[in-house]
Subunit: 346 residues, 2 copies
């Protein structure tokens, strides 16, 4: 096989906002050589652009997330077709979700929290990485397991119009909660209240978030699902109800710049409120992905979960698509399809 | 009865460090009038000086802790003898632990998390408020329940030579953990390692806490029991192991000044490490106080828990005793005995 293996490499560590010059295009040889036990080789079909990948472009740190080596392909969640396997549960021809890299063909390591999982029959590659993919599953486990959300409680979601946030907010409604979303424009807020059935929305760009939260959540916030961090996390902490739970899903306010967001300042409120703040990763729940997919599919088919997708096509569009996550121009789950098989369901 | 009821009132809101002039001595009439349902009237016998009382002297805030009204007696945990009762489970003559006030005779409200609890037979007033009182019980529930401490794990305790911290550290040893303490002097560190059997101690006044933690906890911190907050909390977060638990017990670094301590800055470490940070109050566990007392008594009698007490005598010494919590001069659980019956055990 003399096919070219297209790649997008991390050319340099981004400083401040991401720039086109942080990435380098390369046409490499096909990955060759044998696979180590547990590894699989895949043909990548579609990639999810997830904000947290921006963290992976930072230098190695003590922050427990991976650091993409300079000159190597960008690491990214992908839907892919297996072309070779040294993994016991995975065969050639299987369709998988995995932590892959921005190239046509990639080797994915096995084992651990990031092991590849099979895309269920009947769900396309794009649905597997998008509509029922990591973002909505993150929302599912974060809200119900980490947040221990209960019917009748008040849920606040930051980044609520985003891919993960909008699912968390709508699962809250399915579960009988009062749900308030925080988002970055009037149109995003309108979509949440008018299309998604959310009880209230706060535009953080034009409203005082802390004050609006106290008005919209008179009994306090029982669960805060946080995708944003920084000042919005602080505003929520100041409105948490006793025994409240803060689900730390992401901190997008601090990803695309060089400063670490200020942390919450009044820890004594957490002490006296017996408030829990808990970080988590979707991968912690890899054993329960099928449960999440089944639930999300059922809620989607009954019209209870609205979903917006921003599908881009073409390998060449990967860096620019990813960058649009941070300038506010992207609406919905951002996918980049790089192979025509993306809608196949078996 | 024409006995005088001595009182210490909150004269003004402390600004910066506590001052003698923040308190006012008064000789008042005995509290009279009927009791509301659930209330009891007590003869206070001894008070616990707890650092968190400093927070209660602040103006009312959204921080979920109580604010002592200006001109009213200082609120404080006390061991007391019941002289009148409108509470179903409590009779005249009973000995109780409760959230009382700095005066000879006080009315304590019933119900809720702060309801009075009986001091078990055979345990003196002083033991009830000190050796087996709120501080060690806080350590017990915080470490084992909130922190879910497990044998073989690494525990770090800040404020480790203090009343609560030293108990938490020693319970960690009883449970088979590797225990590192952080304290504010060489002699406190020596006491921890030489007398209490703690595996290592860090003097935060002369050592780089973050660096020392990484040396002493090569596999990371599984449980961080935090009494201090601020920069020490940050140093611990930077050394937490994945799935670690941070027990938010107190934030003494920020009590006795007007600034709110900076919060932890790298929340993404909590996300990627699936780390839990949880506030709590001992009162959450009021139903299990007997269990804690029984356990603490057994470990104390078998020599597994060292205990240091700083017992002061005399009602007039209340404000000055309390202030010594914040200047580093106090060693051990700080009690003020105001009645000769303090050693009675029935």
């Amino acid at each position: 096989v003399s096919e070219v293996n297209r790649q997008w490499l991390l050319k340099r560590r981004p400083e401040g906002n991401l720039s086109e010059a942080d990435f380098e295009y390369k046409e490499a040889d096909m990955p060759s050589g044998g696979l180590k036990a547990g590894e699989i080789k895949v043909r990548n079909v579609g990639f999810l652009c997830a904000p947290t990948m921006r963290n992976w472009m930072d230098p190695p740190s003590k922050n427990l997330y991976p650091s993409i080596p300079l000159g190597q392909p960008i690491m990214a969640p992908a839907a892919a077709r297996v072309v070779a396997s040294a993994s016991e549960g995975i065969a050639v021809g299987d369709r998988v979700l995995g932590l892959s890299t921005w190239q046509d063909y990639a080797v994915i390591p096995g084992g651990g929290m990031r092991r590849p999982t099979l895309i269920p029959e009947g769900i396309s590659f794009l649905e597997g990485i998008g509509r029922y993919g990591l973002n909505p599953m993150t929302a599912y486990f974060g809200l119900l397991d980490v947040g221990a959300a209960q019917s009748g409680e008040t849920l606040v979601v930051s980044g609520a119009a985003g891919s993960t946030g909008s699912t968390a907010a709508q699962i809250g409604k399915v579960k009988g909660m009062t749900v308030i979303g925080i988002a970055g424009s009037k149109s995003k807020c309108d979509w949440l209240t008018e299309q998604c059935g959310i009880d209230g929305a706060i535009d953080y760009k034009s409203e005082n978030v802390e004050k609006r939260l106290s008005e919209l959540c008179p009994k306090g916030i029982n669960v805060f699902y946080d995708n944003v961090g920084g000042e919005i996390l602080q505003a929520a902490i100041n409105n948490m109800a006793p025994r409240g739970r803060i689900v730390l899903c992401g901190q997008i306010s601090s990803y695309d710049n060089d400063e670490s967001a200020e942390g919450p300042r009044n820890m004594m409120r957490l002490v006296y409120g017996s408030i829990r703040m808990q970080g988590f990763l979707c991968g912690n729940y890899a054993d329960r992905f099928d449960e999440a997919t089944t639930q999300l599919k059922s809620w989607t088919e009954s019209g209870q979960i609205n979903y917006r997708e921003d599908l881009r096509v073409g390998f060449e569009n990967l860096p620019n698509s990813f960058r649009s996550l941070f300038d506010g121009s992207n609406i919905g789950t951002l996918l980049v399809q790089i192979d025509d098989s993306a809608t196949e369901t078996t």
